[in-house]
């Protein structure tokens, strides 16, 4: 027998053996005697009563993690969820009712307990003395000061350092007492500390031993590694595939029930839940119809998202900046009648029923339904074509019509769906009205929105998710806020100074009743000014296997779930 013939036979035999060995491997997952490896799912053919993956909580996310450093993570990175579970902050959000509770601090500072100074500017935090980082070092007030100071000193554009701009000074009183002085009174400060990853406490020793702090430069070690004090530790991270989290044996609080495995960028959560491979799946409203029929799935659609869908209007149009074909004048959106007309034209119910599959609601201007301070009695625009026509006529655009472009981020169907709904709504009013929708990839969309001057008249996107009402207002209502400065809200508002003063007062008013009244007044004023179109508050459905226990639907928690430690099977 020739050598070539033998070689071919060996090759063929190897191929056959591979298939045979692989075919025999399918039942191996149930044959293992290794107790710790009992994490493979039960087959869907087995009867109910079996708990799949009994020793680990498997959670899917349909996005990727970009950064694990509290100083560098941005507001849309699911890495925020990881940071919230592996690092601690001075305060926390209670699971049941969203109240601010102690965490690293043994008490929540207040005027009553004297831990907030009489002028409302200085906060004193007595720290727990039994907290250690996962590398065994003690957590002291020095670490808290270091953690906050490094965020400010690094001041990364992609990070959230601006959230500390009201912090005037941080002080270490002693090893277990930390003090912070604000530049201005902030009624939301404690809630911000509880819920925002940027306020997380990192190990000074770990950072200094791995690149330290360099102004304007990210820390590569901190982007990939975590030395925290929270209920979990990061065990492994296989990029764009999965992350494994172990229970922290040295955690100072109630220990977690189960280790966690995060499956990243899962495009088919329904298929995996059907196969009992996943326990909690990250879904959008459009996934609900495919998951509800799964007999062992529990779907909760009661909560609305804290991110508010928004359509922006450019009040700072520069000559020649818009796409060729747009016929609107430079001051088009500076006329409040035009802005209101677009609001009246939009088909809100059609958008919610169609694009969002019925899972959505109407928030106010600008607050989402589930946010503290939301006023259910605040006015919102109904779909009223007659009113839209009247306003367009008064503004002088009815006869000649116009052509306008809107950009949308095509990564989420809600964004482009809103743009298309706007197109249908406006074009249905008048055959001389034309709306061109430019759906582009996320990277390109982000570039468009940071280009100065804006090369687009309108855009469809979402607000960030915040834990305090004034954060939404500062972002989307203040004339020199993030969007106000770029869009030149000052040219659109009837009285920008008065509105800005009102918005700022919502942050500095410490009396709760008075604060709620201010927030209500703001929502009424912003309704009249109509600086945005607010298509909807998207639903935030959650889905899990029926074997998952301890699950709590807290609207303040970002999806897919904030505190894994409370879940069990």
């Amino acid at each position: 027998m020739g050598r070539r013939s033998i070689a071919w036979r060996i090759l063929a035999l190897s191929a056959v053996l591979s298939l045979v060995v692989g075919a025999c491997g399918g039942e191996a997952t149930d044959d293992t005697t290794d107790e710790t490896s009992a994490t493979d799912s039960t087959t869907s053919g087995e009867t109910g009563g079996d708990v799949p993956n009994p020793d680990v909580l498997v959670v899917t996310v349909n996005d990727d993690v970009f950064n694990l450093d509290p100083a560098a993570v941005n507001g849309n990175d699911v890495g925020m969820d990881v940071i919230l579970n592996v690092y601690d902050r001075l305060t926390a959000i209670a699971a049941e009712d969203g109240a601010v509770i102690p965490s690293l601090s043994t008490e929540v500072p207040s005027l009553e307990n004297g831990l907030i100074s009489a002028d409302g500017l200085t906060y004193t935090f007595p720290l727990r003395e039994d907290v250690v980082f996962s590398d065994g070092t003690d957590l002291t007030a020095e670490d808290v000061k270091y953690s906050w100071d490094r965020v400010v000193e690094m001041n990364l554009p992609e990070g959230q350092a601006q959230l500390f701009e009201n912090v005037a000074e941080t002080r270490v009183v002693d090893d277990h007492t930390f003090e912070v002085t604000l530049g201005a009174v902030d009624a939301s400060f404690l809630a911000f500390l509880a819920a925002h990853p940027v306020a997380s406490v990192v190990s000074q020793e770990a950072v200094e031993g791995n690149g330290g702090v360099v102004a304007g430069q990210p820390n590569e070690y901190m982007a990939q590694n975590m030395v925290g004090s929270g209920p979990y530790t990061l065990a492994s991270w296989e990029r764009s595939d999965r992350m494994n989290f172990d229970i922290n044996p040295d955690y100072w609080g109630e220990p977690a029930h189960l280790p966690v495995r995060w499956e990243l960028i899962v495009d088919s959560p329904a298929t995996g839940l059907q196969a009992k491979e996943y326990d909690i799946v990250d879904i959008s409203p459009t996934d609900v119809p495919s998951i509800e029929p799964i007999e062992h799935a529990v779907v909760d659609t009661s909560i609305l998202d804290l991110q508010v869908l928004q359509i922006g209007m450019n009040m700072n149009i520069a000559e020649g900046a818009l796409p060729a074909g747009d016929t609107i004048p430079l001051d088009f959106f500076q006329d409040v009648r035009v802005r209101q007309a677009f609001n009246y034209a939009f088909n809100y119910q059609g958008y919610i029923d169609g694009i969002l599959g019925g899972l959505g609601g109407r928030g106010s201007f600008i607050l989402p339904v589930e946010m503290y301070g939301y006023d259910p009695d605040a006015p919102i625009y109904p779909t009223d074509p007659a009113m839209a026509e009247q306003l367009f006529t008064e503004a002088g655009y009815w006869e000649d019509g116009f052509t306008i472009s809107i950009a949308s981020d095509q990564t989420h169907e809600g964004f482009t769906g809103a743009a298309l709904t706007l197109k249908d709504s406006v074009e249905a009013l008048n055959p001389n009205f034309h709306v061109n929708v430019n759906a582009v990839p996320e990277a390109q969309f982000d570039e468009i929105l940071v280009t100065d001057p804006l090369p687009i008249a309108m855009w469809s996107y979402t607000s960030s998710q915040y834990s305090t009402p004034d954060a939404y207002l500062f972002d989307s209502a203040l004339s020199d806020g993030r969007y106000g400065a770029v869009n030149s809200f000052v040219d659109g508002y009837s009285d920008p100074e008065a509105i800005d003063a009102l918005v700022r007062s919502a942050r500095t008013e410490l009396d709760e009743d008075a604060r709620l009244q201010i927030l209500s007044e703001i929502q009424n004023v912003l309704y009249e000014e109509a600086m945005w179109i607010m298509p909807a508050n998207e639903g935030a459905p959650s889905a899990r296997g029926e074997w998952v226990t301890g699950h709590i639907e807290n609207p303040m928690w970002p999806r897919p779930s904030q505190y894994w430690a409370i879940y069990d099977k």
């Binding site: 591979s18 191996a28 970009f66 764009s240 595939d241 960028i265 982000d446 570039e447 940071v450 100065d452």
Partner: protein, 336 residues
């Protein structure tokens, strides 16, 4: 032969250089490397700080020189998508893609050659028709559709095969000196891990390789039919050789010559298909990573990937040519 290989290898850096200049220029013109970091509402100062970090204030040629210098030093930059150095991510992901590609190619080539031979020897009979159906199926079924169907049937409902590359616990229990799951399992003498690795490979390899089966089958069939009609085959039969030996030892060897070119091409095309297959099966390979990087505007990763695929394709072409020369000595003599 050696001079021929040497000449080809000497030309490789020049090809890579030209491709890198072209791709670098196009990516810079078409976007910005700070794309993954941009957020709506960023101030001009924040954008300027990002641009300074990535040397975007330098002229384009200087940016290229700086990037090239990094490549020469082995620094391919930071992957914003993976939050890790590009080199590290490559090291982790290349074995995953190669392992999948190797098994896909193995079964595609084995089945394609076998089916093509089977069909040629049963020309216009039932066996030939069946082989034709299998081949057309591979060419006509989109990989994304096939993969999803296989997942729904064999993973979701029957539970016979798993999703992803590995069982997390088994994977974490194994050292990974090579990052090839199968090889690491063999090196560790862990049969459970080897079984897990192969079991996870079945569905994605089947999906990825099936398109190539059709091409290889048809090429092998037509080449073999062509050879079997030649005089030397008749002469071999006339000498009394068994038909199996005539086909295997004489006709098929010459039929491989055009088929190998097609195999090389198919493997190259198969590599492109890894983007879809890896995404569907949650396979942590290069294709998956590339898709995310391109959509996120992660230019550092995209550039590194383009360089890598350039080297891969040129190397594959060289390997095919060498094999060609080995199979047909006339080719080698003419070129040297």
């Amino acid at each position: 032969m050696h001079r021929y290989i040497g000449r080809r290898l000497l030309g490789l850096p020049l090809v890579i250089l030209m491709v890198s200049i072209l791709v670098f220029t196009l990516t810079r013109i078409g976007g910005t490397p700070i794309g993954p970091y941009l957020e709506p509402g960023m101030t001009d100062e924040e954008i300027a700080a990002l641009e300074e970090r990535f040397n975007l204030d330098e002229p384009l040629p200087m940016q290229y020189v700086a990037w090239l210098g990094g490549v020469v030093r082995g620094e391919l930059g930071w992957s914003a998508v993976a939050a890790a150095p590009v080199v590290d991510v490559f090291r982790q992901r290349i074995p995953a893609s190669f392992e999948l590609g190797a098994f896909a190619a193995l079964w595609a080539v084995t089945l394609g050659i076998g089916l093509g031979t089977f069909a040629a020897r049963r020309r216009n009979r039932m066996g030939d028709q069946i082989a034709g159906v299998v081949a057309v199926g591979g060419a006509s079924m989109p990989a994304f559709w096939l993969g999803i169907i296989l997942l729904i049937v064999f993973w979701s409902y029957l539970g016979w095969f798993p999703h992803g590359r590995s069982d997390s616990v088994i994977w974490n229990s194994l050292p990974h000196p090579t990052n090839f799951y199968t090889i690491d399992a063999i090196l560790a003498g862990n049969l459970n891990a080897l079984r897990d690795a192969l079991w996870h490979l079945v569905l994605p390899a089947l999906t990825l390789g099936y398109a190539a089966v059709g091409i290889v089958t048809r090429m092998m069939r037509s080449s073999l039919l062509d050879e079997m009609g030649k005089d030397y085959v008749d002469a071999a039969r006339a000498r009394g050789l068994p038909e199996n030996l005539v086909v295997r030892r004489h006709a098929r060897r010459n039929a491989f010559i055009p088929t190998i070119t097609v195999i090389g091409l198919s493997i190259g095309i198969m590599f492109e298909g890894t983007v879809v297959v890896e995404t569907i099966f949650g396979w942590p390979g290069l294709g998956n990573w590339m898709a995310d990087s391109v959509l996120s505007g992660d230019q550092g990763t995209t550039l590194a990937f383009v360089i890598f695929t350039s080297i891969l394709f040129v190397s594959l072409n060289l390997a095919v040519d060498v094999l060609y020369g080995y199979l047909d000595r006339r080719v080698v003599l003419r070129r040297t």
